[in-house]
Point group: C2
Chain length 395, copies 2
């Protein structure tokens, strides 16, 4: 055992480099969150004045108000906070479904969507995508898969999940269209907004969503782990089912505690505080989303001037997360003594990190929140590397 | 919606007051953790250099080493981090047991122990305590309850849970004795160390524990939410069972991801970093536990000089968390215009917070980590209030 190695833990990525890691851009704290984080650094910091035994009911700091405000912001009725979107998905599936029930999800879904189903012993059916190069999810295909489930199991699925923006290509699939189909079929509808809410406007009512789940550290400028599940009055009782267990000997009971949220809450402390403290900025920033998309499209245009570079997924891009096919870099890697790692090293030398080390055939980049100057620097870095290795770069 | 109320969130409890809240003392950050928290404030901060898709395998920062060091420190073989002890208990019960299985727990167990069982549809049997005023758990009673389960269900329980130190009286029950009984009966043994590990030395092997669970924000000087489950090689495969789900259409699989830990981990970011950064101090501080107990006993002696005050639970106290019966204050409250809230207000005026507002008949206080001077200040505050209301205070 060598405890000394945990002294002086440093993370200089955000100071020394431009970090284009796909999961990092939307979670950079606001100055307000950074300040609140220091205030609420210790242990159970939000629990000093918890008088009702549930974090969502705490009034100092104003968590109770915050629950209402986040629900309103999402166009939903009620919210609970979770340590990440993954617990939110697990909570919905564990309370609303029974073992053996079928669910339908898009084939670009985050792996934790599949695993939430696995943990709850559900049958998973996938909505196919259109394949290379767009990998598009057609909302109408949900109806086809509902019919497939009916043919195979005798009934329609209980729940459909749509990944609003997927983590592989940054494709945006319109939830309204899927929501309409779900409503027609009487299938509950969950929208995973891990890469959208907190960045762009979300209205659960318009989406006809039964559940909106999302991630604070991915897209609401928060310290991990923090996520949420929002729902409508219709489902509150079941999703937020309270404890009925009684001690056989003691008679102890915990009737105010919510089972799927581990009692008072599965998350509290600093992550929740940063989520609250960033909220005023998040409410503002969603109105600037179009500008982020504009910058992302400019970024794609410039990157594609490296001959052989292609943005994968739906075009023009509708999100700041891009997946580039970059076969010319793959050719370089085959002859380079550092193989695929050459790209990571060359980028790092130029002040850019976040591209997965070893990858050259294709890779992902997120430009959310970068300034024009930073974006131009990233473009320059790629073009400069391309030119160094004799690749063609258009003017 | 009023986002402005989340601007300038403040927590002055630790600066202006001595906070004796039972859940707060062991979670106060070390200076090292406070520094690391600022470094790793943003979103998925520990995931910059995640190359294997699991947080426990990350080498920068050294999470992979940390997993091994924490296991060694606890005298166990393997560890996973969770957002709080509650998820750790849920994970054990969801992977090691089947719906309808029986478990035995002490009747002083934390409510989240009951609820982890409820969430997993288990039958819960309680080990009785001795009642007022000691509320003692006799380790030998576990054997009696095992026999009771056998009589009622036809087989011994699958799992026994012991709350090493309980949250109601701060009673410490020796795990070694319960572990021995579990070994004899072939019952798996889980020790909840939420109020002990990180404060005092823990050796899972000596306890004959199959699972040690604990809480970083409760007793390892960490930002919430962070907890852990430690186990032995014997149970690794089952507890850390990896995903086998396959996309029907896509063929997608996630074979390295662990089901009960939501894939890569149910917790990451700043809480994990504070847990790591405080670890060198935690390793040191557990050797000073006896001194904390000495101070706690002094505190009890002085508090009991207020005539009618009695420390509940096992005597002399073996922990820094105390439950006091304080009937004289209850008498005062009956005639006071602020009723039970008088005590909270009087203490706050004297710079002490953390006693549950409204309680006067009995209340809990934790002195862990307070200096002699701070402890004497708290004693003074109580005696001063007692004298103000004409109660008898011995010299």
């Amino acid at each position: 055992m060598n405890p000394d190695r945990y002294r002086n833990l440093r993370r200089d990525t955000e100071l020394k480099y431009i970090n284009v890691h796909p999961i990092q851009r939307g979670g950079v704290l606001t100055p307000e969150a950074r300040k609140a984080l220091i205030e609420f650094a210790d242990g159970y910091s939000v629990c000093d004045f918890c008088f009702e035994g549930r974090v969502d009911l705490v009034e100092t700091p104003p968590v109770r108000d915050f629950v209402g405000d986040v629900a309103e912001f999402l166009g939903m009725d009620e919210v609970r906070f979770t340590p990440g979107c993954r617990h939110a998905k697990w909570a919905v599936m564990s309370t609303m479904l029974e073992k053996g029930d079928s669910i339908v999800l898009d084939s670009l879904a985050h792996y934790t969507s599949y695993m939430a189903a696995e943990a709850n012993n559900l049958e998973v059916y996938e909505v196919p995508h259109s394949g290379y190069p767009e990998f598009r999810i057609n909302p109408e295909t949900y109806a086809d898969v509902f019919e497939e489930v009916k043919r195979e199991t005798g009934e329609y699925p209980k729940l459909a999940l749509l990944t609003h923006v997927d983590y592989r290509y940054g494709n945006l699939t319109p939830p309204e269209e899927v929501g309409k189909i779900c409503e027609e079929y009487g299938v509950m509808f969950m929208v995973n907004t891990a890469y959208s809410s907190g960045l762009m406007e979300i209205n659960g009512k318009k989406m006809r969503a039964d559940f909106i789940v999302g991630s604070g550290h991915k897209s609401w400028a928060s310290t991990a782990p923090i996520g949420f599940v929002a729902t409508n009055y219709e489902h509150v009782e079941k999703l937020m089912k309270t404890s009925t267990i009684r001690g056989r000997w003691s008679g102890r009971g915990f009737t105010k505690k919510e089972i799927a949220f581990y009692g008072c809450s599965p998350v509290f402390g600093a992550p929740l505080i940063t989520f609250m403290a960033s909220f005023p900025s998040v409410v503002e920033r969603v109105s600037r989303w179009e500008d982020e998309v504009r910058k992302a499209r400019y970024f794609v245009r410039e990157m594609e001037k490296i001959v052989g570079f292609h943005q994968m997924g739906v075009r023009p891009t509708e999100h700041t997360l891009q997946n580039f096919e970059s076969l010319p870099f793959h050719q370089v890697a085959r002859k380079h003594k550092r193989r695929g790692y050459f790209l990571y090293s060359e980028l790092k030398k130029r002040g850019v990190i976040g591209v997965h080390p070893g990858l050259t055939k294709n890779f992902k980049i997120n430009t959310y929140g970068l300034t024009d100057r930073q974006i131009n620097h990233v473009i320059w870095a790629f073009k400069d590397i391309a030119e160094k290795y004799g690749l063609e770069v258009e003017d």
